[in-house]
Every structure is written in structure tokens, then in C-alpha cells.
């Protein structure tokens, strides 16, 4: 029988509290309630990343569970040099990549398709109008599914306002300048694909 949800987390969902200082919380070990607080603050971001990378709500749910379980088991490896959010994202990205390789069920578009997007009519900074907001998630997923993994990941990480370009660069193994450079192409590719979903 599962424990009540309240036992895992202490902070309400959507809390705006800042991270507990990693070095302080780890100094005397991390109590389950403190880990629950970390879950409350970051599970939404991790679930959303997994959802849009994997494209399946059930797989995203499983992945979110597995990511936080891995994090709990690896807490002694966390040195506090990165934020909790960045550390959790790193685990999530690796986990999702492993799943994608294992399942081998997604058709990945290669970077060779850049040329198609570069010549497409939709500019990267054109507004995206959505008439039916309830279909937004489905349309975003369709557009994401057509992007190379690198672009998908860049857009999802940059959309998280808690991450700097440096942190996005660290998570994607490139410089912040490279992130900025690729981001323009990623936006344009997404915009072209998104407008096709209307």
C-alpha cells in the first residue's frame, strides 16, 4: 500500500520558494521531508521535460518516478556545485536518452533537415497563434516529434526560466554561445512544424 502523498512532500505544488541550500541540507544528511520538498519544487519541470522528450504521458510518469528515485539513491554524489534543478535535469536527460535508445521506436529527424527549415517561410520570431488552447499540448508534441533531439532539448531547457544559458550549455555539452546560435534554428524549426499542425 502506498504512503500518502503528504509524506513525500511538504511544500504545496507550484511553490515559489527557492531551493534549499544544497550544502546545508546535505551537511547532516537529507531527511525524507527535505527530499519531498525538492520533489515538490522540481517534479513539474522534470515531468514536463520527460513528457515532451518521450511523447507519452505514461512513460513520462514512469521516467519522473525513476529520475527522483535515482536522485535519492545518488544523493551522496551530489556536491552542490550545480543547482538541484540542473542536477535533476542531468539525470532526467540521461534517463530519457537511455529509454529512447532502448525502445528504438521513434523516428528521429536528422540535422540534414535543417536546410528545409532554413528555407521555410515562417520566421523564428513570428507569433504563434493558437485558437483552441485545449489542443495546445497535442500540437506542441506533434511539432516536437518532428525535431531532432538536440533542438527539442534546447527549447525545453531554455524555456525553463530557472536555467541560465551557461547551465543549458553544461547540460547539453556545449558553450552558451553555441546554445544561442542553435536556439535560433531550433525556434525556426519548431515554428515551421507547429504551424503545420494547425
Amino acid at each position: 500500500m502506498s504512503k500518502p502523498q503528504a509524506e513525500l512532500g511538504t511544500a504545496p505544488t507550484g511553490t515559489t520558494r527557492s531551493d534549499p541550500a544544497p550544502s546545508e541540507t546535505l551537511r547532516s544528511g537529507l531527511a525524507p521531508s527535505e527530499f519531498g520538498e525538492i520533489y515538490d519544487q522540481h517534479s513539474k519541470a522534470i515531468f514536463y521535460l520527460a513528457l515532451r522528450l518521450l511523447g507519452d504521458p505514461q512513460k513520462a510518469e514512469d521516467a519522473t518516478h525513476d529520475v527522483f528515485l535515482k536522485a535519492f539513491r545518488k544523493l551522496d554524489q551530489f556536491r552542490g556545485e550545480a543547482s538541484w534543478r540542473t542536477w535533476l535535469y542531468r539525470i532526467a536527460i540521461n534517463h530519457c536518452r537511455n529509454l529512447q535508445q532502448t525502445w528504438n521506436e521513434r523516428h528521429m529527424v536528422t540535422n540534414a533537415d535543417d536546410a528545409v527549415w532554413e528555407t521555410a517561410a515562417a520566421p523564428a520570431d513570428s507569433p504563434l497563434r493558437v485558437l483552441e488552447i485545449k489542443e495546445l499540448g497535442q500540437r506542441i508534441q506533434k511539432a516536437m516529434d518532428g525535431l531532432p533531439e538536440e533542438y527539442r532539448l534546447l527549447l525545453l531547457l531554455v524555456a525553463d526560466e530557472q536555467l541560465s544559458y551557461d547551465e543549458v550549455g553544461a547540460l547539453t555539452s556545449q558553450s552558451s554561445d553555441a546554445v544561442r546560435g542553435k536556439l535560433h534554428r531550433a525556434r525556426k524549426a519548431f515554428t515551421v512544424l507547429f504551424k503545420k499542425t494547425a
Binding site: 502506498s2 504512503k3 500518502p4 502523498q5 509524506e7 513525500l8 512532500g9 505544488t13 546535505l26 551537511r27 547532516s28 544528511g29 537529507l30 531527511a31 525524507p32 527530499f35 520533489y39 517534479s43 513539474k44 519541470a45 515531468f47 514536463y48 513528457l51 515532451r52 504521458p57 510518469e61 519522473t64 518516478h65 527522483f68 528515485l69 535519492f72 539513491r73 544523493l75 551522496d76 554524489q77 551530489f78 556536491r79 523564428a124 520570431d125 507569433p127 504563434l128 497563434r129 493558437v130 485558437l131 483552441e132 488552447i133 485545449k134 495546445l136 499540448g137 506542441i140 527549447l155 525545453l156 524555456a159 525553463d160 526560466e161 531550433a186 525556434r187 519548431f190 515554428t191 507547429f194
Partner: protein
Amino acid sequence: MKHEKLTPQEQEQLAAAMREQGAQQTSIEFTSVEDMLRHDALHTPVPPAVAARLAQSIGPLPPPARSWWRRLFGRSG
């Protein structure tokens, strides 16, 4: 004040106006891809089952150990 009954034509016009108003209320324009993704993320809740499953998985595990680097450098706690 006497309320006059709407003609079929007026009723149709009113219905069309209400449909249009409804469509406007559900439409939204995003200035960037990131804005759209933030909106989508904000309105995508984590299934409550994840927290329950996680609590069940973590329950039997021992408390998290101290970081190896803290043990190595002999920091307190």
C-alpha cells in the same frame, strides 16, 4: 419595460456572436516558442500517482548517506 422576442434572424446573429466570443476566449497568441512551452508546462500537472509511487519506492531505503567529499574532507555533520 417590455422585452420583444428576437426574430429567428436576430437569434442566429446572437448565437454567432456568442460563438465568436467563445472562440476568442479560448485563443491565445504567444510571442515566442519559449512562452508557449512555459504556458504548456504550467498547465501540465504531474500525475499524483508519481509522488505516491515514489514514496513507496523510497520508504524501504536507508536514509541518504553523507557525500563522499564531505567525509573525505572531514566536514562536520
